[in-house]
């Protein structure tokens, strides 16, 4: 197609597309009459192409596919039909959804004929412990036996490793379609809904939450019985997400449509029985009004999600009188709306006003605790409404009660006071019973040792297993919090049980690690971590008072001191930190003779290193280097003896070398320092290469690149430094993508970007450098807003401001002498330098400037002086 003929072809083509297919040939005859034959041929080719799929091919274009056409020969849909899955023979496919496909099957082992639905999940479970959890959950679900719940019959994994569930086959219609098809009245809809509630309540009593209540998961059989499908399966599916470390509800993309999801599901909060109550509320809303509770502009998932989290639901009684909803908004059931169109909307509005409005709005509360406490209460309230009794959802005002009462008893108003009292007593009794039942159930379910074991499994086994997987941080936090919750609740009852108290201390320590271990993947909450560690310390110190020579306890105590020291150090509280580090070292030295396990020996080295580190921060370089050398000697010996834990000891040795390198740098020995840092990079590169899935090693490697960049920067090798910073940036960026909650990595993304930007400023690229420094600044700002403000972030700000100043100074000296631009640039530079100095001054006042940064304020003062000198030479008129 030539460029010159295209406008004409386009015009004719568009004209044709506007017409119905049978009109086109006539139109082409006319419009192409005076044109060369090739024009018509082109138009016809394009018309055919459009008809073949040109209209919507962009909509179905799947970006996740490899860029080569997949074989079209095998229709994947059918590959299951006729196959056996367990004892079942697949007969047809009945559905397909976001998570997999649903097949109809028949039991084919000759014993008896039973129909079943098989759901195959499309994501394979690859980790053993996830598979284990899948089995465990399945057992619980299989035990759900209720007339309104579709039985889970079986489950397993196919030959290809895909998990599947076998469920009772239900021949029915989705709830909303059923209500519409049978023209159910308001009362009948409420009764059907109560049957649904009874099924959910039954499951909740067995601690199973459905998590995915929607009309499509509730089928109504020909006899009118609702059957709930997929109970609790959503939770099992979440398990696979542990692998990637993200709660599926935490992202919009995790949900096909968030129409029925609760605010806490969308936000990634805790899923409880209240989640189901919310979804039931949306369901009821729709059954009664034919509308969705919120006004939304469009139908994109994020718009719906925002409405769920932020918008106030419209009163159902108002919604029914609302005209036809925008076509894009979710509008599932419309029978009652159709009724409304027939002039009944006023009647419906009256029926909904009051109780039903209140009941539904209560279920839709944004805060789970403001919804009904149980599904039973919800069902009870609907029952009360149907019977004309007062509902708890309504504020129990006297006038309301009286109104109800008068309605019910019409004439017997005389007895009002008596009935009122009876009602009140009835309420009190109901609440009281509910509370007793609750407590007893809780106690029975506690099963002291079971819970303790569960907590331990969660926190130590699973937590440990996923620790080094990229993206595992939120999953770890969840695990630690759950386990701590269990242990906390036991601690009260088990006071004086030393072994349990020790578990409790360990749990606090783990939670501290996840919350804010300053040197490992963590959520960056330093204060929270310090509090956790101190709780652990308190327990351990009191335990030790009874057993002063318990070696294991002593070692735990030493580790505890160290972790507190890490936090204090990160806070910039070096003096306190040194005290804690020395306590830890002292314990380990006293035990040194008894140490045979290489890990313990390594930990002793770790304590020397820590003391060295704090000494370094306090400015005592000679002592510091001495402690580092002791640590290095111990670790070199460990590595040379080559025990099993080679990787770990090697990476620790690299850490010691890194520290030595830093002190050497501070002492001004650049050559030695850089050489030492290159050794660190070498070791970490080898280790990370050998263990590509180990996120921690990759992080260490990235850090090593970063520090090499720093050293080179200090020895004025801008080109070398730029290269190292870029390597650091790329690696940290990858880590941060894989685990967006990893604050440490994010922080380093900022610092390496800043370093690279700074080096560009230095090597004659101030504009490029400026852009990078600005990006780095944005990262620090985001981290600060995110609540992970600390000395590191502050020093990031200080450094960013410095480089902004430097970039503008460079631009100033490049611009035309005596120009306005020059003045402006010098002013900019001066402003940024002053900002930087202010941050450093504030940090210094808190004794929180790292030793490596101590000369910076002085340098900045010189720069400021130079700005002032330059500005003084410029014409005054141009200044601001």
């Amino acid at each position: 197609m030539s460029q010159s003929s295209w406008p004409l072809v386009r015009e004719i083509l568009y004209g044709a597309l506007e017409l119905a297919p049978h009109e086109r040939s006539c139109y082409l005859d006319e419009s192409c009459a005076s044109q060369p034959a090739s024009i018509r041929a082109e138009v016809e080719t394009l018309l055919a192409s459009y008809e073949r799929g040109g209209d919507d091919f962009l909509r179905t274009l799947d970006l996740g596919r490899p860029p080569v056409p997949l074989p079209e020969s095998e229709p994947a849909v059918c590959r299951w039909i006729g196959r056996r899955i367990g004892p079942y023979q697949v007969t047809e496919q009945v559905g397909r959804g976001g998570m997999g496909i649903v097949l109809r099957a028949i039991r084919a082992d000759g014993q008896f004929e039973q129909e079943a639905a098989i759901k195959i999940i499309r994501a394979p479970l690859t980790l053993d412990f996830l598979l284990e959890r899948f089995r465990h959950e399945r057992q619980i679900l299989a035990a759900l036996d209720h007339p309104n719940i579709a039985r889970l019959l079986d489950g397993g994994t196919t030959e290809d490793g895909l998990p599947y569930f076998v469920m009772e086959y239900i021949d029915g219609q989705p709830l909303d379609a059923y209500c519409d098809a049978h023209h159910l009245s308001l009362r009948e809809r409420l009764q059907l809904f109560r049957a649904v509630c009874s099924a959910i309540q039954y499951a909740h009593q067995r601690l199973v939450v459905h998590r995915d209540i929607k009309p499509g998961n509730i089928l109504v059989t020909a006899s009118g019985a609702p059957k709930l499908l997929d109970f609790g399966i959503a939770k099992i599916l979440d398990a696979k997400v542990l692998k990637s470390g993200e709660e599926p509800e935490a992202t919009l993309a995790g949900m096909a449509t968030p129409t029925y999801a609760s605010p806490e599901q969308i936000r990634g909060g805790a899923i409880t029985t209240a989640t189901d109550i919310y979804s039931l509320g949306v369901l009821l809303y729709e059954l009664l009004t034919g509308k969705w509770p919120y006004h939304v502009a469009g139908s994109l998932p994020h718009e719906i999600a925002r409405a769920v989290c932020e918008a106030e639901p419209e009163k159902p009684s108002h919604a029914v009188t609302r005209p036809v909803p925008p076509a894009a908004a979710p509008a599932p059931s419309n029978a009652l709306r159709a009724g409304a169109a027939l002039g009944q909307s006023e009647k419906l509005r009256r029926q909904l006003t009051g109780d039903l409005d209140n009941i539904i709005l209560r279920t839709l509360s944004k805060e789970p605790e403001r919804r009904y406490a149980t599904v039973q209460q919800l069902a009870e309230d609907i029952h009360r409404h149907l019977e004309g009794l007062p509902v708890i959802a309504r504020r129990a005002t006297l006038s309301y009660r009286t109104e109800k009462f008068v309605k019910r008893h019409k004439v017997k108003v005389v007895a009002a006071a008596f009935v009122l009292l009876a009602l009140l007593l009835g309420f009190a009794a109901t609440f009281h019973e509910a509370r007793i039942a609750e407590t007893e159930r809780a106690r029975a379910e506690k099963g002291f040792d079971d819970v303790r074991q569960l907590a331990n499994t969660l926190i130590f086994d699973i937590g440990g297993a996923i620790r080094d997987l990229p993206g595992s941080t939120p999953a770890r936090q969840l695990l630690a919090k759950n386990a701590l919750h269990y242990l906390d609740s036991l601690a009260g009852e088990a006071g004086g049980n030393p072994s349990l108290e020790r578990d409790l201390a360990s749990a606090y320590e783990r939670l501290g690690d996840v919350q804010g271990h300053p040197r490992r993947a963590s959520l960056g909450n330093l204060i929270g971590a310090l509090a956790d560690y101190r709780k652990a310390l308190g327990i351990r110190e009191s335990l030790l008072a009874n057993e002063p020579h318990n070696t294991r306890l002593l070692r735990e105590l030493a580790r505890n001191y160290s972790k507190i020291e890490f936090c204090l150090d990160a806070k910039g509280d070096f003096r306190e930190a040194l005290g804690q580090a020395r306590k830890a070292l002292k314990i380990d030295q006293s035990l040194a003779g008894k140490l045979s396990d290489p890990k313990d020996i390594d930990e002793l080295a770790g304590n020397y290193q820590e003391v060295g580190w704090v000494l370094q921060e306090s400015g005592d370089l000679a002592d510091s280097l001495d402690n580092y050398r002791k640590a290095a000697a111990i670790r070199e010996k460990l590595v040379a003896e080559g025990p099993g834990n080679d990787t770990e000891f090697r990476s620790h040795l690299a850490g010691t070398y890194g520290s030595m390198s830093e002190v050497l740098l501070l002492e001004g020995d650049f050559t030695e320092a850089i050489g030492m840092q290159r050794r660190v990079v070498g070791i970490m590169r080898a280790l990370s290469g050998a263990n590509p899935n180990n996120a921690t090693l990759r992080e260490h490697l990235a850090e090593a690149y970063y520090y090499l960049g720093q050293w080179l920067e200090r020895s004025h090798d801008a080109a070398g430094a730029l290269k190292s910073y870029q390597q650091a940036f790329a690696t940290f960026q990858d880590i941060s993508f894989a685990d967006p909650h990893n604050v440490l990595a994010r922080r380093f993304v900022g610092f390496s970007l800043l370093g690279a930007g700074g080096m560009q400023v230095e090597s004659g690229n101030p504009r490029k450098g400026l852009a990078r420094v600005t990006r780095a600044l944005a990262i620090f700002e985001a981290l600060r807003l995110h609540g992970s403000d600390n000395e590191y972030i502050q020093s990031g700000f200080a450094d960013s401001y410095y480089w902004l100043g430097r970039a503008h100074a460079k631009l100033a000296s490049r611009s035309t002498p005596s120009s306005t631009a020059r003045t402006v640039q010098w002013h900019e530079a001066l402003g940024w330098y002053k900002k930087s100095l202010a941050v450093w001054t504030e940090l210094a006042a808190r004794h929180a400037v790292a030793s490596i940064d101590r000369q910076k304020p002085g340098e900045i003062r010189e720069e400021i002086a130079s700005c002032d000198r330059n500005l003084a030479q410029l014409p005054v008129t141009a200044s601001r």
Partner: protein, 188 residues
């Protein structure tokens, strides 16, 4: 950060070229991050559309309602271009992986869900778009903004200062042309 982005966006709509230069890398990084996690199969929804990615990026970066309409449109127009680049880079890297003999993971779960429509080669679309740009630059821009940025006909018209009727004509005929172009190259 959101404030900063908003500021840059406002700057862009006032034709401040430095604002645009500063904004691009931020948006690109965000899109690349999002796309990375989708395409690497870390998200559940494999068939996610570029449009939704751009919207998510917008939500994450801008996070506020009171952004001026032009700024919002500007974001989507920029993001659309960048999204195309991200996806092309990704598709290329997949191709390299394949050529280099590295294992491309095509799990069974993927074969479960093949749409019964023609499978489009993404790089072919990119190439075809380049071809269209030679024929009519504006038409290729319209496709970019609509397909990668998810703007409506009306919004596209306002962003490019065209009439909605023109946008619609260009969009419909561009699709016919592109589909013809792509299926032709796939067959050969």
């Amino acid at each position: 950060m959101p404030d900063r982005i908003t500021q840059l966006l406002e700057g862009c709509s006032q034709r401040d070229s430095q604002a645009a230069a500063d904004l691009l890398p931020l948006v690109y990084d965000e899109l690349r991050g999002l796309a990375h996690s989708y395409l690497a199969g870390e998200r559940r929804d494999h068939t996610l559309q570029a449009t939704a990615l751009v919207h998510e990026a917008y939500l994450r970066l801008v996070k506020q309602e009171d952004v001026h309409w032009q700024s919002r449109a500007h974001f989507f127009a920029i993001a659309a271009q960048l999204m195309r680049r991200v996806l092309v880079d990704y598709a290329r890297s997949r191709l390299r992986e394949k050529r280099g003999g590295g294992a491309v993971k095509i799990s069974l779960s993927e074969t479960l869900d093949i749409p019964q429509k023609t499978v489009i080669d993404f790089l072919a679309l990119d190439e075809a778009l380049d071809g269209l740009a030679k024929l009519d630059l504006r038409q290729s821009q319209i496709v970019e903004i609509r397909f990668f940025g998810g703007l409506s006909i009306q919004e596209t018209a306002e962003t490019l200062a065209l009439s909605p009727a023109t946008v619609k004509r260009d969009w419909v005929t561009a699709k016919a042309w592109l589909f013809h172009e792509i299926t032709r190259s796939t067959r050969s």
